[in-house]
Amino acid sequence: MRLQDIDTPRLRARMRDGGVTLRLSPFTVRVRSDIPHLADDIATMYRDFELVDEREFVDFHVAVLRSPHWLSRLQGRAEFWFDGQRSFTPLPAAQALAMLEWGINWCIAAHAHQYLLIHSAVLERGGRALVMPAPPGSGKSTLCAALAHRGWRLLSDELGLLDLRTGLIHGMARPINLKNASIPVIKSFAPEAVFSASMPNTSKGTVALVRAPQDAIDARLTPARPAWVVLPSWRADAPARLTPIERARAFMDLAEQSFNYDIHGQAGFQGLGRMVDGCECLHFEYSRLDEAVALFDAFTESAS
């Protein structure tokens, strides 16, 4: 059964009561909320994701609930809960979807140490993965959204899950998180993209989520072998340009952008080394998405 098989009133009721359990492979997440519009947002963003039988093991029990405190309630605030514990500062209920996404990211980053977790966008073409680790503000998610709507399969815009045993990288085809000016840019670049409502005044500015394209959701269980590590940076009016960088530099950037590299110790060092060994490492500067996508297409075709 998929989420879209439940109609809106039933979904709202289930989320308010016991919650719904989504298979966000490789994890299962039970989501509970008493905020009706969050149920609607989840229905839009995750409509093709499977619901898990109630008896199955759940990795993360999360909830976004209206604040019980009278002042917070008056201000229309909501809280994120994980395993029965309130986490993070309450936010306006209008930001509930962003709060849920950030909360799930946190759950994974803080607990899923069976993977080396890399803060990166991951896309795939021809079985080969493009890994783009980058700090906020580098244009990573914008580029990721553009590529995901131009023939690249989205694995993740935020979290690359590297299996140190197999060397394969997994994604979850969850929504892409766009901020501020990136929102109208992608709306114009990919009119077919499905957006959530924009959520203004978050700590990151205005945020909107973009549903993963259908091909990405259909193939979300298939990992890919990393082939390119690309460090993107957006610079106004810069022509699109790919420049080779040393693997040692790419290694250090990947380690820095990993949430749990330190926890893995020597195994993480060696696993990341194997990944970098198998990748071409590049810096990518761009300003215009059409130009960026064309350059990626040409580059990856010449590499195949």
Partner: protein, 113 residues
């Protein structure tokens, strides 16, 4: 007069990543858990010292003859370069300097039956 020798403190194949033609390498310190970006020349020193301990003169000789320099530095500059690399690599626990020992002292340290 015996002189101190340098040696590699780690099983290098497990803790050092180098790539052909690159100016940098990566070293993982298994004691602290820290990862360091180091110069390729430092990695080369570590690789030599992993095979056998050497003193400064032996290292200078190898630097002079076994490195493909674009322009060989002057002896003073090379000595200074070696010093800076050795100290940096000692700071991050990749290399260590062993105190000087004479053959007699070395024999005295061997366990007796």
């Amino acid at each position: 007069m015996p002189v101190p020798v340098w040696h590699c403190r780690q099983p290098i194949q497990d803790v050092l990543l180098t790539w052909e033609g690159e100016q940098h390498a990566v070293f993982f310190d298994p004691v602290s858990g820290d990862t360091h970006l180091i110069a390729a020349l430092g990695a080369q020193l570590a690789e030599w010292l992993a095979v056998a301990p050497m003193d400064r003169d032996q290292l200078l000789h190898r630097l002079t003859h076994d490195v493909d320099w674009d322009e060989l530095p002057s002896p003073d500059a090379l000595a200074e370069l070696l010093n800076s690399h050795l100290h940096r690599l000692a700071d991050i626990h990749l290399l260590a300097e062993s105190p000087a020992t004479t053959p007699v002292e070395a024999l005295a340290e061997e366990p007796s039956a």
